[in-house]
Amino acid sequence: MKMTPSLCTSDLLKPEIRDACKDLILTDEQLRLVMERLRHQIDRGLSKQSHEEAIVRCYTTYVQDLPNGTEKGNFLALDLGGTNFRVLLITLDGQSFDMKSKIYAIPQSLMLGTGRQLFDHIAQCLALFVKDLKLEQEVLPLGFTFSFPLSQQGLTKGLLVRWTKGFNCSGVVEQDVVALLEDAIARRNDVKIDVCAILNDTTGTLMSCAWKNKNCRVGLIVGTGSNACYVEKTENVECAIPGQYAAHKPHMLINTEWGAFGEQGTLDFVLTEFDRDIDENSINPSKQLFEKMISGMYMGELARLVLEKLTNNGLLFNGKCSCDLRKRGKFFTKYVSEIESDPKGKYANCREILAELGIRNATDQDCENVRYVCSVVSRRAAHLASAGIATLLVKMGENNVTVGVDGSVYRFHPHFHDLMVEKISALQPYKFDLMLSEDGSGRGAALVAAVAAQKR
């Protein structure tokens, strides 16, 4: 069992730096208050009466069936979640599984262009992929993982609520993105793709994990963004549109969209000056505050802001540093993981990264303090994500729930898993497991399509 790393107690740590970081360290009391407020918002999101004003909207996914291992056939997945997207073909035969995939880039110009251009590009790549596999004559069910805030109105109907992650295509907000994709495919008229479901990456993460572990009931993403989904009782899903779901089935997945938590002041009691700086300079000020405290898109910048302040106060690098440490966006989130991967007392990664930033005279004390800042930032992210998961586990009230997790921060940070297990255990009493979900947003989407196609 891997030991959870304790806070650094090295005498290289300056008391002034510990003091400067104290607002980033959350007590269990604060975390329980986070849980309380999140639970309140989840209940408001589920309620038809208060859904429209809720901060955590708890969108209905219309997914009511989990995979059971009997799925068979060829299924496509389209995974659109950032500046790259993937197309996958998954062949299922009971418990056996085969996958082919291709990664495609979305240039900056398309991220900020028209929605039609974006979906034409996607359809083009889909068609090429299918033709490369010589499957253009086969009807292929497709699951569409769309990792942006979505108001779902059916398993195959979802309206984009707003763009995140640097996207800002025109003509897509409040439009049905399945229809946009189907129209783009139809304009080509050269492949037979049947869009069976639209889902977000948390749903896919849960489905992919559930295919291997029947206890999986929660999906969590901590990557470029952060979000969670969980299995709710159908009777509690008041916002599901009648006729679009099976009322007799006991469960439905809920996409919480918890990244929005914190709006309207609900997290002000834990926001720091660094969080406010990040928010004010983001493309969506005052939105996605919980996400901005947790996710990889912002973690590196958060650490950079702390380091910049400490340097300006003369506490790091003798008060001098390169222009790069003062530039927004120059301290990547992977730096946080790499710095914290250095063995205790070793600073090879830290020195390499500082050199990349133009700082070549860092002392061991500087490196230790840089690592401390990174650990404080990443630990807070892990603890906030833990508070969210603890809230869902308490709401479900079941033992032996598995949480399927994906996302670059969870996958690549050396301590994130252990930090979360420890904190979730401290915040709620139910037995649970965290399980890395393999290829959730790709395979999970194909599994959703497989289950949906089977039910038709």
Partner: protein, 453 residues
Amino acid sequence: MPVELAPLATPAHKAAPAPYNGSTEPKMNKLCRQLSIESPSLGGRECVFSFDVPVPEVPTRGARIRVVCAGACYHPKRSGSLTSLNSVSSASSLATDVSVEGDFPSMLPHHGMRDAALFPGYEVAGVVESLGSELTEDCGVKLGDRVIMYPYEGIPNGYVEYLVVHDLKYLIKVPDNMPLSVAAMLPAGALLAMNTVHAAHELVQSLLEERGDNSVCKILIVGTGGLALWALRIAAYQYSNMKDRVTITIASLKDDGLMMAQEFQRRLSGVWMSRNLHNGRKFTRVSEGLRRKELPDRQLRPLHLFTGSWYFDYSVNVVQWSEDLYEKQLIERTMDSCGGQVDVVIDFGTTSRSLHRSMQCLGKGGVVFVIKEVADRLLPKFSRRAEERQQKIQPVEPGSLEQLRELVQLVGSGEIEPPPHTVYPAEDALDVVQKLCHSEIQGRAILRFYPAD
């Protein structure tokens, strides 16, 4: 405590001196301009120097060139200086030395440096202005010839408006159809890229023979700066008859590298096939029918690429090495794009990080080729890792005079298309260098010393 040196004053020197009449011997002690670009190790430090030097005497068996175009490269470090301004060079060297603090070697934080958009070299193209007194009429060079110079050991520390060459063998005539701005790219960037591809080619040949018929060799080219753009073109030419057996993937270090690769494909296909071009996707061949067409013999290729029926059909994968992604994600995507580990990496990145990635993408027994200057700096750190992985890190020297002659022919005949370049006045060199350091210039930057060819 390191001594802080004041930056050298750059004299106002906007007006170019009047060109000499070729038939008139210049006066003694006439001055001309010398432009020196040092390695920009930190953005704030002065790295471009411009000062007046005496017009050099024509060697008795050499020639004097009036420089028209020069490639924007920085001056590689060397042990001794041959110019008459030793004090200035020493001052520059001292400034470079004192900037290194602690026990770490200088790193190159600028994005353009990481991408080798700015690289060490010496590239000039110009016009023969004077010939040595002991040369006879049959020496092969005459006044007014447009030439490039192979960068031999005798070159000065900077781009001097009047440049002497001590041996005519180092001069190569520029074909009439080649602009001097294109010619200026050849002696360092293109030549280094060619030598890298040649070195890789020896390995590719032996791998293909060893593996037998129908085997495939995979090459990854890292970077989208000037060197990588040349290497891509030269490799595509080298393997134009082996496209089913050699695959090329570009690891782009910036977003518009994708567009650059598309532009490359579009030009070489002669026709914009927008239906078949996709960012990050393997570029499709023009058509199935045309692919089966017999490719003409090398010697029979037409001189001009777009006037003949022949077309250049090579598909290139592009994968983007976005700096904000985790290293493992980049490796996964590169492996996906290459269809597994590669056999050869040509790495024009200049950082530990890019070399580390290259080695992770490289299979056992593979070789990664890097610029000698980069290899000198990184080999101490990476040699053990290479040994453990049974890989080799191969430094690449600038190429030979014969290779440069071959390059001039290939580019002149249109068999190799030069990358895009932009011409800037030499007076703007500092601004150009800063733009290159931040990768703001697509393709190569060429400095022009006179307004017209």
